[in-house]
Amino acid sequence: MVRLGRIEVGVFNVDGEFYALPNICPHQFGPLCAGTVNGTTACSAATDWRFAWVREGEIVTCPWHGIEFDITTGKSLSSPRLRVRTYPVAVADGQVTVTI
């Protein structure tokens, strides 16, 4: 987590790719990026309607109400109305630069 002026940003490393999201959940303004980073469940014809564990490391779950967000897109997994912006991230010479 980094603070840039009044803005808190969570920076995530997903398999070597860096992503940055605002630390504010669009639901009730909870500290989204303080949430657990892990995977999620899937169940469809593709999994023969059995529960599977997928996308390990790509999902952050808001600690207030458990809403899941895709770190790579900023979209929640449950509602098109709940999404956060993603900030551009550049990596050069071992330095991670977030542009807000």
């Binding site: 639901h27 999620t40 469809s44 309607w49 929640s76 509602s79 709940l82």
Partner: protein
Amino acid sequence: MTATETIPTERIALTLADMAVVDADVHVNDTPGALAPYCDLPWRLSLQALDGASYPYLQVPGFAPNLRLDPPIPGSHPYRSVDTAAEMRAELSELEIDVGILFPDHMLTFAALPNIDYATALAQAYNRWLMEEWLLKQPGLYGVMLASPQNPEAAAREIERYAKVEKIVGIYLPTAGVNPLWGHRLYDPIMAAADASGLPVCLHSVTLVSPAFPCQLDQFENHFGRQVLSHSFAMMANLTSLIHSGVPARFPNLRVVFTEAGIAWVPYMMWRMDKYFNEYRRMVPFLEKRPSEYIKERMWFATQPIEEPDNPKDLVATIDLLGGPERVLFASDWPHHDFDHPRTIMKLPMPAAAKRQIMGENALALFGISAPVGKL
């Protein structure tokens, strides 16, 4: 220009004669004696033994199991039943209804019958009787076939048997007393057969004191309390059940109709399920979209007993909240004690096109029924 052409069309009063009127919920009187000739042995003998006995409405031991706790309401309006197809045709026509979708009376408590073999035979008898004595005898009468929750495999075969029968336009899922609720995977054979048949499933409940949800109706002091909660709680519970086990995702062609619970509970349930979908999506990952989206795409709600707010605009707003007029089917519940006359919808402050949808167009499309002669 003629005189009539000078009148703005919106000022010409819309009448029931101008549109197809389909009633998504009317009831036939299915007595033990009537069903007996259509029932296989040995259970035919049981129905014959019940024939002729006088029992109050929905209270026939071994046929319509119920626990009626109230005394007859002092000075109340009389009980009505429709006993023949000719009566039904005449009475619907009197109400300016072109097409009726027939549901049972006593078989409303069907799910509470514990004997599996008897229930299987009784469902088959009801379906044969409905076809022979009602649907084939009068024009404009269509039926929903009874699917026995006690025997899902037999019910699935029965659905396959009736899938292409013109006058059978849906599958009645007995909802009062059903345990487990209709979303349980136990019923997957019924949902799969319904999905393949193209026939919508129609949930219909009734006030029933039973250990199944909504249980504890016996705790109310009188029938006011039981009636207020029974049908709508049953529908809320079964809608939640269908969503929480992913029925609309697992059976992508399945269409669902909810009858006799009014409509105002629907926006509440949409909002509540969407809210908890945010928190518990990991537990229902088979849902590819919010619960409200499945509802707005593949579920319909019959009007009766329509809510009657002091300001009718509130009801029109409620219809918009649950997805608009295309989700709503007019139903009278004729001949029951709390039936709604078609004018309850006709008098609402809504555009003519919306009234046409609710009064008939939606149901004709959903049930695959041709427009009545001279209408549309």
